[in-house]
C-alpha cells in the first residue's frame, strides 16, 4: 500500500512536470526565420533597415532568410512575452539598441552572441577594418563583439553664432563650467526650451559618471555634487520640475519660423542634439542662410575628460539563443554592405534621403562627405546662392567634419534613446526625477546613485 501510493505520487508529479514546463512551445520562437519584436507597426529605426532587408530577400529569391516581425499591442505586452521566452531559452533573435533591454547586463552574462564568431563561422563577407574603428569598438565588451552599430551621431548641441556671442560662449572652450557661468551671469533663461530636452541633457550629464565598460560609477566626488546642484537649477530655470513640464512653451513646427528662444542657449528645435547626417547639415545651413537666419553652429558636448564623443544611433545585437546563426550572418553581411549603409547614408536626391546620421562604413562615409560638399541645389529645384555654398562647405570642413574625425569614443545610448533605456527606466530614472523635483537632497542623490548603479552593474 505504501509503495503504491508513493509510486502514484511520484508518477503524477513527473507527469505534471513536462506537461507544465516542457510545453513552452506556446510562444517560443518556433519560426524558421529570424524574429524581431516591435510594438504596433514598428516605431524603431532598425525596423526600416529590416524591412529593406526583407525586400532584398524577396528580390533575390531567398525569402526564407528574411526577418519576421512579431508585433505587440503595447510595450507591457512585449516585455512580458520577452520575459517568458527568454526564460524558456528563446526570445527574439534581433535586439535593437533602442528597445528597453538591460544591455549593461546582457553584454556580460552571455546573453548576446559574439558577432565576430558568427561572421567567421559562416563566412560572411565582412571585414571590420573597413569600418570606423572607434565606433565599432563601442560594441566590444571584454573582448567580445556583441553589439553592432550601424549609424552613429556626434554628441553635439545646436546653437548659433549670434547666441554664442550673446552669452559670451566660445566654441573652442565649451564646457560645463562655461555654460554654468553663462547661467549665473543671468543672461540665459536656461539651456533648452523643450523640457524633455532638459531632462535628456540632465540624464546625459549623469551618465558621464558611469563607466559602462568598467562597470563602475563615480558619484561621490564633490565635483559631481556641485555640478548636479547647479545644473539642476539651471535646467529648471529656477522653477520646479512640475512647472517645467506644465509650462511647455509652444514649439513651432517649422524651425525656420521666428521663435522666441532668445533666452536659451540651444535651439528650440525638438531635436536639439544635433545628429543629422552631413547632407542634412548642409541643407539646414543653406536654408537658414536663404531665409536670412543664423546658420547652425555645433558645439561639442564634451565628456568628463574634455573629449569629443559620439553615440550610436542605430545598432543591434543577436540573441545568443538564436538557432539560425547562418541567417543572422547573412543579415549582418547585408546591413554592413555598401548598398544598405549607403541607402540611408545621405546625399541622394529624393526627399527621404537626407540621411540618418553618420554611417559606420568608411567608404560610404567618404561618399557622404563628398556629396555633402557638392550639395548646392535643393531637391525642389532651386539653386542656393554661391557664396552661401562656400560658407556651408567651410562650416563642414572646419567644424563638423573635424569634430567627427576626432571622436575618442562612442556611447551606446544617444540623447534621444537614453530616456528609453533600461538604466533610466528601471534603475536610476526615479532618483533623478526625485532630485529634479526637489524631493531629495544632493547628498542623498549621490548616495542613492552610487549604491543603485554599483549594485546594478554587478548583480
Amino acid at each position: 500500500m505504501k509503495r503504491k501510493i508513493l509510486a502514484l505520487f511520484l508518477t503524477s508529479v513527473m507527469a505534471l512536470c513536462p506537461l507544465l514546463s516542457g510545453c513552452n512551445a506556446i510562444g517560443m520562437n518556433q519560426s524558421d526565420k529570424l524574429t524581431f519584436y516591435c510594438v504596433g507597426d514598428g516605431s524603431d529605426e532598425l525596423f526600416e533597415f529590416l524591412k529593406k532587408y526583407n525586400k532584398y530577400c524577396a528580390v533575390n529569391d531567398c525569402f526564407e532568410d528574411s526577418v519576421e516581425f512579431i508585433s505587440f499591442d503595447s510595450y507591457n505586452e512585449m516585455n512580458s512575452a520577452l520575459a517568458t521566452e527568454l526564460m524558456a531559452g528563446g526570445g527574439p533573435d534581433i535586439l535593437s539598441l533602442t528597445q528597453t533591454y538591460p544591455f549593461e547586463k546582457l553584454v556580460r552574462n552571455n546573453a548576446l552572441a559574439d558577432i565576430d564568431e558568427i561572421v567567421s563561422t559562416y563566412n560572411a563577407d565582412v571585414n571590420f577594418d573597413d569600418f570606423n574603428e572607434k565606433v565599432m569598438n563601442s560594441g566590444v565588451v571584454d573582448g567580445k563583439r556583441c553589439i553592432l552599430p550601424l549609424y552613429y551621431r556626434l554628441n553635439a548641441l545646436y546653437t548659433t553664432e549670434e547666441k554664442l556671442a550673446k552669452f559670451g560662449l566660445d566654441r573652442e572652450n565649451f564646457s560645463f563650467d562655461t555654460i554654468l557661468q553663462a547661467y549665473e551671469n543671468g543672461s540665459v533663461n536656461s539651456y533648452f526650451v523643450n523640457p524633455y530636452s532638459a531632462e535628456a541633457f540632465y540624464f546625459s550629464f549623469i551618465r558621464r559618471y558611469i563607466d559602462f565598460y568598467e562597470g563602475t560609477a563615480d558619484f561621490e566626488s564633490d565635483e559631481f555634487k556641485d555640478y548636479a546642484e547647479k545644473f539642476r537649477q539651471a535646467v529648471l530655470k529656477g522653477g520646479t520640475y512640475k512647472e517645467l513640464h506644465s509650462n511647455e512653451p509652444d514649439i513651432p513646427e517649422n524651425e525656420f519660423e521666428p521663435e522666441d528662444d532668445s533666452g536659451y542657449i540651444f535651439s528650440a528645435n525638438e531635436d536639439n542634439y544635433y545628429g543629422g547626417s552631413l547632407a542634412s547639415f548642409a541643407q539646414d545651413y543653406l536654408i537658414a542662410m536663404e531665409y536670412g537666419q543664423q546658420p547652425p553652429v555645433l558645439v561639442p558636448d564634451f565628456n568628463r575628460k574634455g573629449e569629443i564623443t559620439a553615440s550610436i544611433e542605430v545598432g543591434f545585437a543577436i540573441n545568443a539563443n538564436c538557432k539560425k546563426m547562418d541567417k543572422a550572418a547573412k543579415l549582418i553581411e547585408y546591413l554592413l554592405s555598401d548598398s544598405s549603409q549607403g541607402y540611408f547614408g545621405g546625399g541622394r536626391d529624393d526627399s527621404n534621403s537626407m540621411g540618418l546620421s553618420i554611417p559606420v562604413k568608411n567608404s560610404v562615409y567618404d561618399n557622404a562627405v563628398k556629396e555633402a560638399l557638392a550639395y548646392e541645389k535643393h531637391f525642389w529645384g532651386f539653386e542656393f546662392n554661391r557664396d552661401n555654398v562656400e560658407l556651408k562647405n567651410k562650416a563642414l570642413t572646419e567644424m563638423y567634419i573635424p569634430m567627427l574625425e576626432s571622436i575618442s569614443s562612442c556611447n551606446l545610448y544617444g540623447y534621444n534613446s537614453q530616456l528609453k533605456s533600461h538604466l533610466y527606466q528601471n534603475v536610476i530614472g526615479e532618483v533623478i526625477v526625485d532630485y529634479l523635483d526637489g524631493k531629495i537632497t544632493t547628498n542623498k542623490l549621490s548616495q542613492r546613485l552610487t549604491s543603485a548603479v554599483t549594485i546594478y552593474m554587478s548583480e
Binding site: 505504501k2 506537461l19 514546463s21 510562444g27 512580458s80 524631493k439
Partner: protein, 277 residues
C-alpha cells in the same frame, strides 16, 4: 509599596501599547489634515527637523473626499485587492482544514514525511517559486487573470501547519467514539472537528487575509494590465505623485483588515491552547 509597583507596571504597559500603536495613530491623525499641511510635512528638503504633529491644523475630510470621490482609480484598485483576497482566504481555509484533518488525525502512509515537505514549502520565500510559477501559469493560460494570484495563495502550506496544531488537541477519543457509531469521516470533520478549532480558523483567516492583502510581487510579474494592480502595489507609488492623499489612502487600505481583526480578535488563540482552557 505594592501599589506603586502596580502603578509602575501599568505605566510601562501603556508605554508599550503606545509604542505599538503610534504609527497607526499618526497615520489616522494625518489623514485628517488638510493637503497643504501634509505637503509641508512630507517636504524633506527644507532642512528642518520634522516634528511629530499629531493635531491637524484644521480637521478636515478633504483627503478622504479626494480619495473617494475625485480619484476613482484608487477605488478601482481597492476593489482589485478585494477580488484577489477574499477568494484566496476562503479557498485556503477550506483546503487547509480538509488537509489538516487528515494530517492530524488520520493515518496514512508517508504522512509525516509529506508533512515535512509541507513545512519546507511553508518557509520557502516567495521569490523561489515566483518566476517558475510564471511559466506554469502561462501554460495554464492564467496570466493576466486574477486567478494567477488567487490559486497559488489558496494552496499555501501555511494553513495546514497552523490548523494541524489546533486539531491535534482534540482528543482522539471523541473521534473514535464517532467512528464506532458509524459516522463517515466527513461527518466527523464537519460535526466534531470544525466547531472545536474555531480559534485556529479565525487566526488563519486573519493571517491569510493580511498576507494576501499586502501582496506585491506577484501582481507586478503576472499581470500585464496595470488596471488590475491591487492597491498594495499602487499605494507605494502614490507617494511619488499625490503626496496630499497618501495618508487617507493608507487609512482606507487599512480599514478592511482592521474590521476583520475587530470582528475576530477575541477568538484569536494560539493553536496551542487546549480545548478545556
Amino acid at each position: 509599596m505594592k501599589k506603586t509597583k502596580l502603578i509602575l507596571k501599568y505605566i510601562l504597559l501603556i508605554i508599550i501599547a503606545l509604542v505599538f500603536l503610534f504609527p497607526v495613530i499618526y497615520m489616522l491623525a494625518a489623514s485628517f489634515m488638510p493637503q497643504a499641511q501634509v505637503n509641508t510635512m512630507l517636504d524633506f528638503t527644507n532642512e528642518e527637523y520634522k516634528t511629530i504633529e499629531l493635531i491637524p491644523e484644521k480637521a478636515t475630510f478633504e483627503q478622504f473626499y479626494q480619495v473617494f470621490f475625485r480619484r476613482p482609480e484608487y477605488l478601482e484598485k481597492f476593489w482589485n485587492s478585494v477580488i484577489m483576497t477574499f477568494p484566496t482566504v476562503i479557498g485556503q481555509t477550506v483546503v487547509s482544514a480538509l488537509a489538516a484533518f487528515a494530517f492530524a488525525k488520520l493515518n496514512f502512509p508517508l504522512r509525516d514525511k509529506l508533512f515535512f515537505v509541507y513545512i519546507i514549502l511553508l518557509i520557502l520565500p516567495l521569490q523561489v517559486t515566483l518566476v517558475p510559477n510564471y511559466m506554469v501559469l502561462e501554460n495554464l493560460n492564467l496570466l493576466n487573470n486574477f486567478l494567477a494570484v488567487i490559486l497559488p495563495g489558496t494552496f499555501s502550506a501555511f494553513g495546514i501547519c497552523l490548523l494541524r496544531q489546533s486539531i491535534k488537541y482534540i482528543p482522539d477519543s471523541s473521534i473514535e467514539a464517532a467512528r464506532v457509531d458509524g459516522a463517515s469521516y466527513f461527518r466527523i470533520f464537519t460535526r466534531i472537528i470544525l466547531p472545536q478549532i474555531k480559534g485556529g480558523l479565525v487566526t488563519l483567516v486573519l493571517l491569510t487575509f493580511i498576507d494576501n492583502w499586502n501582496v506585491v510581487e506577484q501582481p507586478l510579474i503576472y499581470f500585464e494590465d496595470e488596471g488590475m494592480y491591487p492597491l498594495s502595489v499602487t499605494l507605494g507609488e502614490i507617494g511619488n505623485s499625490d503626496f496630499g492623499i497618501v495618508f487617507a489612502c493608507g487609512v482606507m487600505f487599512m480599514i478592511v483588515p482592521l474590521l476583520i481583526f475587530a470582528y475576530g480578535h477575541k477568538d484569536i488563540d494560539s493553536p496551542f491552547i487546549s480545548t478545556d482552557k
